[in-house]
Amino acid sequence: MVKRKSRNKSRREIDRLSLLRGLLIIFAGFILFRLFNLQIIEHGVYAALADDQHRIYERLVPIRGEVYARDYNSEKLFPMALNENTYLLYANPKQITEPDEVVDQLEQILDIDTEAVLSRLRKVDDIYEPVAHNLTTEYKEYISNLGLEGLHFQIEPDRYYPEKNIGSHIIGFLGNDGENRIGQYGIEGYYKEELAGKYGELNIERDAGGNWITVGTTSIEEAQDGDDVVLTIDRNIQYQACQRLNEAVLRHGADGGSLIIINPKTGAIMAMCGSPDFDPNNYNEVENINLFLNPSTFYTYEPGSVFKPITMSAAIDLGVVTPQTTFVDEGQEVIGRYTIKNYENKVYGQQTMTQVLEESINTGAIFAARQVGDVLFEQYVKAYGFGLQTNIELESENGGDISTLNLHRDLYTSTASFGQGITVTPLQLVTAYGAIANGGTLMKPYIIDEIHKPNGAVIKTEPQSIRQVIQPSTARTISAMLVSVVQNGHGKRAGVPGYFVAGKTGTAQIPKESGAGYDENRTIGSFAGFAPATDPQFVMLAKIDVPRDVQAAESSAAPLFGEMAAWLVNYLNIPPSITVE
């Protein structure tokens, strides 16, 4: 009996021991599971935490996408907007025993507010005080070599625009909205989210004191870098266009100007310049922020006679006139209490429609518009895209104003027929001329050729046809009439020897700032056209705002167009089609 009791007791002890072992195994299993979880499943999170702050920053802060332009001949990409690593110099005042000495040394190298920096460095309980931003590597190394106590550097991403002023209205700049850096104007503004990428997230459980709980639930979502953007522009054409525009504006003492070149077959922008421009690297030095607005897409103007081919194309497309149709010009048209006259009050007598364009006769344009009729004229103007934004990928686009045409009144149709009483943007105008050059098909203008995603995917923009505005035969007829304008009319200085250049001048009047009517002394000269007329490779609009030395566009915008066209035919390797003696 005693023996049996002893055996039972021994069994109970063994059972307890086994239970203890079991518990230990379960506990060990739990530890193993936790280790597995920490080291395998949540490895990324803890690896990030184990890294220094810089690495965590790198994983959470996306790299901003860059902007490139092409060289059409070599097909190489050239940067227009690049990321640059600059340095923030900061001080740890706790580590500085001689703040005066540190500031003395720094003020010899950097442009700093000595008093302000000194007061910051004297905050003995502080551990972080920024001293200077955006220092180059050379400055960083120089200051590091001084061996000053308590000074440290931190990478500070910045943006660099190697082409400086060239194409500044297209590119925009990376500005500040108080706390964050944000793309503003141009591509930087339009694609601000795509270029910026997406910030990562580090979610860490914290205790009541705000400290990280190392064994708590954590997760890391890595940053997504921004997209790179490749523009349709050719950097050489862009450079030449912007340089020539700036020279022309300077030569004429003008307020400004625009120069846009597009591919009529695709709608791709080959160059887009505005003057005056700005250096996006130093955008904060610009005194007038209106300079940031793209004159090609934001500012509207009454185009003047450069609009006459639009009117004429509608009339020819409907078959109500032909290039040989004649009318008798009496020098003026009286509509109600208004009298509309020709430029410089000229009287031309009997003229053909071709001569109407060659001599830029206002009454002739009114004649053609009246043959079209108010309603159909409005429809044609709208079909060319006027009155609506083109939706080009640039910030701040204006749609112009053709609302008077909705009224279907003779006065408004008549004035609009030669480009007054309506407003357009330079981009709308060059796009409309593009339709004439492209056999009557209006193409959507675009400036983004490709978007390169961080994962390597490339999204290419396909040319987009909007509508057939006029018949191909009409487009050919108008093209021939516009060639005649350059050869025989006011557009001679836009011509290029050996090439059929089609185009039209426009000397637009500017409405008075106060009161009704137009300013007698201020004009905007435009020349829109394309070449070669038989197979157009480019469409261009040159515009000079308020030239001081000349009034007419044939002396301001037309020569600029001619210079640029002559350079373009060589650059694009377009052989001449006329033998020049």
């Binding site: 039972n8 059972d15 239970l19 184990a50 690049l82 690593n85 400086k164 001449p576």
Partner: protein
């Protein structure tokens, strides 16, 4: 003889009891635990050592990336057209007045005998 003093669920505990594991199996488990423990320590040690090496490499990668960025900037600067134009102005190049295009569409070429 039946043990009537044993609780009703005792047989269940017995079935689960590790004390019933065969001695050989017990040794195998023990050795496995020791081996795996050692392996774990070795692996962790290697990982830690590798971590330092990786850290050095990462630092090197960062530095190279920085240098690369600076070089790219320098290249972009030197390739910028304003720079190019200022450089070529010293070369005193002359703009061509006439360009002649050869018509090769006909395919009529003289073959040298």
């Amino acid at each position: 003889m039946t043990n009537f003093n044993q609780p009703a669920n005792q047989s269940f505990v017995k079935r689960l009891s590790l004390g019933k594991i065969e001695p050989k199996l017990r040794y195998i488990v023990f050795i496995l635990v020791i081996v795996m423990g050692l392996a774990y320590i070795v692996i962790i040690n290697n990982v830690a050592t590798g971590g330092f090496a990786l850290d050095d490499l990462r630092t090197e990668v960062d530095e190279l990336r920085l240098q690369n960025g600076q070089l790219e900037l320098r290249v972009a600067n030197l390739q910028s057209l304003s720079q190019v134009e200022s450089k070529i102005s010293d070369l005193q190049l002359v703009q061509t007045d006439t360009i002649e295009y050869l018509d090769v569409s006909g395919g009529a070429v003289a073959v040298q005998p």
